[in-house]
């Protein structure tokens, strides 16, 4: 009797194993979700890269904010930069704010990168990396979309393209308009 039960358990367990492994193929090992989406964006106050003062997230309350974490040693950041520049130009005179947060490098290197890549939007330095950690950043480049209500509406890991940027921004502007 016990042997019969044991046999059934073994067969079921092996079936379970095989089904699990088969299901595993559907999963994308690079898709990792974290905990900050749909939560209020963590507050911060960071110094500008060019040393000309400080910037707080609270300065932009009520606006759509696109936060881009970057570093000069990050190759995909260089790849995505043209898209960021184009989007910045498009929304330059509107309510949309673009903010670059430089981390895991010296301010000098960050500033040199910003000047070299033609980054005209505000850039700040996260010296000890704690702001990146509070946002749940895995590594540059990462882009966060914060709505006018201060909630993180979405985020993108890896180099971002123009279309994704625009879609996310428009969605948030739509929300802002209906308030």
């Amino acid at each position: 009797m016990l042997a019969r039960v044991a046999r059934i358990v073994v067969v079921v367990a092996i079936l379970g194993l095989v089904v699990t492994l088969a299901l595993a193929f559907r999963r994308d090992p690079h898709d990792i979700r974290t905990g900050t989406v749909n939560k209020p964006a963590p507050a911060f106050t960071l110094g500008r890269l060019d040393g000309s003062g400080q910037v707080s997230l609270a300065d932009y309350s009520g606006k759509v904010v696109v936060v881009n974490f970057f570093a000069s040693w990050c190759l995909p950041c260089i790849q995505e930069n043209p898209a960021l520049v184009r989007v910045y130009e498009r929304y330059r005179s509107s309510d949309v704010v673009m903010l670059g947060i430089n981390f895991q490098e010296s301010r000098e290197n960050g500033l040199a990168y910003v000047q070299r890549m033609g980054i005209l939007w505000t850039s700040v330095a996260d010296d000890d990396g704690h702001v990146a950690l509070s946002y749940g950043v895995f590594g540059p480049p990462e882009t966060f979309f914060i709505g006018p209500d201060g909630i993180i509406a979405g985020r993108h890991i890896g180099p971002i393209d123009e279309e994704t940027l625009v879609t996310a921004i428009e969605k948030l502007r739509g929300q802002a308009a209906t308030r």
Binding site: T34, H130, S134, V137
Partner: protein, 154 residues
């Protein structure tokens, strides 16, 4: 000295040594940082803990944990801060509180099931007959067995 007494003394001493090793101790600040960072997963590595990783991200996380410990936060509060930012994924062992904690039951269940199966197959008494000198038929059988085993060993 009687064997039984010697065994008793040795067992007591062993128990004492183990009790000493297991005594509850207040952890130092450094030890607390180690405890917490051992449980945190480095986000940019292949499954390494924040304590072991040499990456810059891990270093910054260690830094943050040390700062929070200095500020007087408890282990639970510090872990909650990381969970808020990264989700349960950031912990290297699943938390007991959610349903994912079932995985802790697996080894216990496997051991219990195995022990149940095995003890079911064992005899209750197993004390062998006291030894007497073997009879001549037993000796002949033993000799034959020796010869057989020698042949098999080679």
């Amino acid at each position: 000295m009687n064997r039984g007494v010697l065994i008793a003394i040795a067992v007591l001493a062993l128990a004492g040594a183990l009790a000493f090793a297991a005594r509850p101790r207040e952890a130092t600040a450094d030890e607390r940082v180690d405890q917490i960072t051992t449980e945190l997963r480095c986000p940019v590595c292949q499954g390494l803990s924040v304590k072991d990783s040499t990456s810059e991200t891990a270093r910054q996380m260690r830094d943050l944990v040390a700062q929070r410990v200095r500020e007087g936060k408890t282990n639970a509060e510090i872990e909650a801060e990381f969970r808020a930012a990264y989700g349960d994924w950031i912990f290297l062992s699943p938390p007991l509180t959610s349903w994912t904690g079932l995985v802790w039951l697996v080894p216990v269940a496997a051991l219990a099931a195995g022990l149940a199966l095995v003890t079911g197959r064992l005899r209750s008494t197993g004390i062998p007959r006291p030894s007497e000198p073997p009879s001549s038929t037993e000796v002949a059988a033993l000799r034959e067995r020796v010869a057989r085993e020698e042949a098999a060993e080679g």
